[in-house]
Amino acid sequence: MWTYEKKLMYPVKVSTCNPTLAKYLMEQYGGADGELAAALRYLNQRYTIPDKVIGLLTDIGTEEFAHLEMIATMIYKLTKDATPEQLRKAGLAEHYVSHDSALFYNNAAGVPFTAAYIQAKGDPIADLYEDIAAEEKARATYQWIIDQSDDPDLNDGLRFLREREIVHSQRFREAVEIISEDRDQKKVF
């Protein structure tokens, strides 16, 4: 069960009318290393992970939805007042003919989301290492979007999200430590 707070995790402000940025941001919306993939991956893996780290996957998986909501807000703000012609110039004509300016879980190249992007191997180390890799890939994706964007207010929000990926990766690394250690065991040499 979840409770919902009707506000964004971090305020989203977009200062320039540049629908092309919406296209790039879709990589984080419906892409392989995006926030949707992250949320679904963690919230699904938590059932078969050792008890000590279930809560971590719940917390991070939940936060990923809060990130998804920020990305959605950015994309929406960048496209809501765009004319079909502006969307075409932004490379979003293909998106427009199928979805108008509705959001959809595509990546930046228009490829729709698939569950094949994520895994649940059932092996705790394999799953946590996948999660660490996913966080690093999401961090890198934010970097490349920041490199392409010249909107200072949008980049501010993206920097916040990138920092969260660093912290999440740290926590997953600590989760590996937690389930690897055997300090409770009595050792006889």
């Binding site: 690093e136 961090r139 490199d147 920097r159 660093i166 912290v167 690394r173 600590e174």
Partner: protein
């Protein structure tokens, strides 16, 4: 919150061939985030003020890494 110098960047010079068509990108940089170096978070870790923590996205100063386009002139 220093934005200028970060210890979390590395760079290398890609091989330059005689007949490469484009002007060389002399330095290729990449990020080595703070989570690579810290291990399990130790007790009494330094913290940001509440307002700075909300701004940066982390409560803990050693995890903070400001990013900007490294190719920007």
């Amino acid at each position: 919150m220093t934005h200028e110098k970060t210890p979390f960047r590395r760079s290398f010079t890609p091989f330059r061939g005689l007949y490469d068509p484009c002007p060389p990108l002399l330095k290729k940089t990449y990020v080595v985030p703070p989570n690579l170096f810290i291990g399990f978070q130790p007790p009494d870790f330094p913290q940001f003020s509440a307002i700075d923590a909300l701004k940066t996205g982390t409560l803990w100063t050693p995890f903070y890494d400001y990013y900007d386009n490294p190719y920007k002139k």
